[in-house]
Amino acid sequence: MYLQAKRLFKLALSPVLMLLSLFSTGAWAEQAERWQTNMAPGITEVGHQIYDLHMWVFYICVVTGIVVFGVMFYSVFAYRKERHQEPATFHENTRVEIAWTIVPFLVLLFMAVPATKTLIEIYDTDDADLDILITGYQWKWKYEYINPNGDNISFFSNLLTDGAEIANTEDKGSNYLLEVDEPVVIPVNKKVRFLVTANDVLHAWWVPALAVKRDAIPGFINEAWTKATETGVFRGQCAELCGRNHGFMPIVVNVVEEPQYEAWLGEKQAAAAEIKELMAKDFSLEELVERGKSVYTSSCAACHGANGEGGVGKAIAGSPIATGAMKEHTARVVDGVPGTAMPAFGSQLNEVDLAAVITYQRNAFGNNMGDMLQPVDIYKFKKGQ
């Protein structure tokens, strides 16, 4: 009840706050896209077709609108009582009525034909050069590059925007809420197939520049494809309400030249190999805490607070779990807590990061356990030992 009352109080104050903010120095970065009023054709053939279709239907609507509203406003002005005392009495005309049933139908045909053509194009299932499995999580995306000759490369992509920017205590950058820690990288001029699914609730993967929007449905798999014709960085967002942080799970697609893509892929594979190697390494407490801090910021801070003070999730600072038995703490992080918003990080972070973040939580925010966990311990824990 107290929280509700506080919320109501804040609401009552909001108009005042807003007026004040109008006069404060709006130090927002100016951007080229501001005042954008129309769909952008994007960087794909299909995107251009959709754009043309959109404009075509729009122009038909504008012309129809001018005619219809023209007659309407003419009638309203010309047949005002002061000018036109005696109203006409006609109230039907079968021929006219049939005509204006047929004409809209014919106009619709002019829209239906190109729409059908574009739709068939979109549903084309010709072989792709690259398959990427996209999984929506509350509230991040996972990308898995399907590799026919070896291990798949997979990683999570989290919102990068700082909490302070969202809370208005720091200036917002130009990619505010549209920036991630790990963008998905695709080669230019290659047909890329996206297999879209979800881990928990519905999500939808939408990148306007690629003209792709597909619902991500838990348990089922959907497909879409794109063929980018330009390099660059393209941004999108989740388009299906998926809970609290629906507005905070952006998508960033990096379209690069093929050699760059190969290099990136190589790096990713090397990084995966490195993780394997790191698993065998013994870390010092300092190393783990340092690595854990950045993992905490990207994976935990949104719910547990930047300083472990809690929020949607419980406080980490002084928490009986983070200052209790190591095994219990590990289980919480790796397996999650069913029925709550605490996900199982075991499938989202690698062993090194898991060990680091658990160690960090036990040795930060005033928690002073002094103990630590090695990646190999996580590995053993996961194997049920």
């Binding site: 072989d127 699914t197 348990g219 089922f220 798999i221 959907n222 999650g336 499938s347 049920g384």
Partner: protein, 189 residues
């Protein structure tokens, strides 16, 4: 005093109430099975059919279809779950077998259910499973692992423009659901 008008009103109201019940029943008991039937017929969501009994058919050795396998863990499903083979190339009409690896990483007994989904969804009706671990719930004792088998045949009628089929299994934790079903089954005996 019930006039003719009152009687008419009553009759009409009862009819309308009947319509209300019919529509409710339609939503509850007709739409879900109808939807399932349509899904299987049209491959909506890439749903595949029930167990398929193999019929003798010629193997179409002129065509090669690539079948990719992917695996997903639904939220809260801590098992390890992955295909042992990431893709195979098969001829339509030919029976193939692959396995998925599953390991219960927890220190308790758990039951899983795998849900298949195929893209392109048009291919779903041509993908016949003669044997699949997804037909049943799969239990595993604490710490145990297993190779789960899938045997399939791709229909010779698969549209010519489909060269790649992706089969995804999403594994769900149904331990509680299975326990409930067991207790219902036990109590009804």
């Amino acid at each position: 005093m019930a006039t003719q008008a009152d009687k008419n009103i009553k009759k009409l109201s009862i009819k309308l109430l009947g319509l209300v019940f019919i529509m409710f029943a339609f939503a509850m008991w007709v739409m879900p099975p109808l939807y399932d039937a349509l899904c299987e017929a049209l491959g909506i969501n890439g749903k595949t059919g029930r167990q398929y009994t193999a019929v003798e058919s010629q193997v179409d050795t002129d065509r090669i279809v690539k079948v990719q396998f992917v695996a997903q863990n639904n939220e809260m499903m801590p098992w390890e779950f992955a295909p042992n083979t990431s893709q195979v190339e098969v001829h339509p009409g030919e029976s193939s077998q692959v396995t998925y690896y599953a390991k219960n990483t927890q220190d308790r007994y758990m039951v899983s259910q795998a849900i298949p989904s195929i893209v392109p969804s048009r291919a779903a009706e041509y993908f016949h499973k003669t044997e699949c671990f997804c037909f049943n719930q799969q239990p595993l004792a604490a710490g145990k692992d297993a190779d789960l088998a899938l045997q399939f045949i791709i229909d010779r009628d698969l549209p010519k423009d489909i060269h790649v089929i992706t089969l995804s299994y999403t594994i769900f934790d149904v331990t509680e659901m299975a326990a409930k079903q067991d207790s219902v089954a036990a109590s009804s005996k």
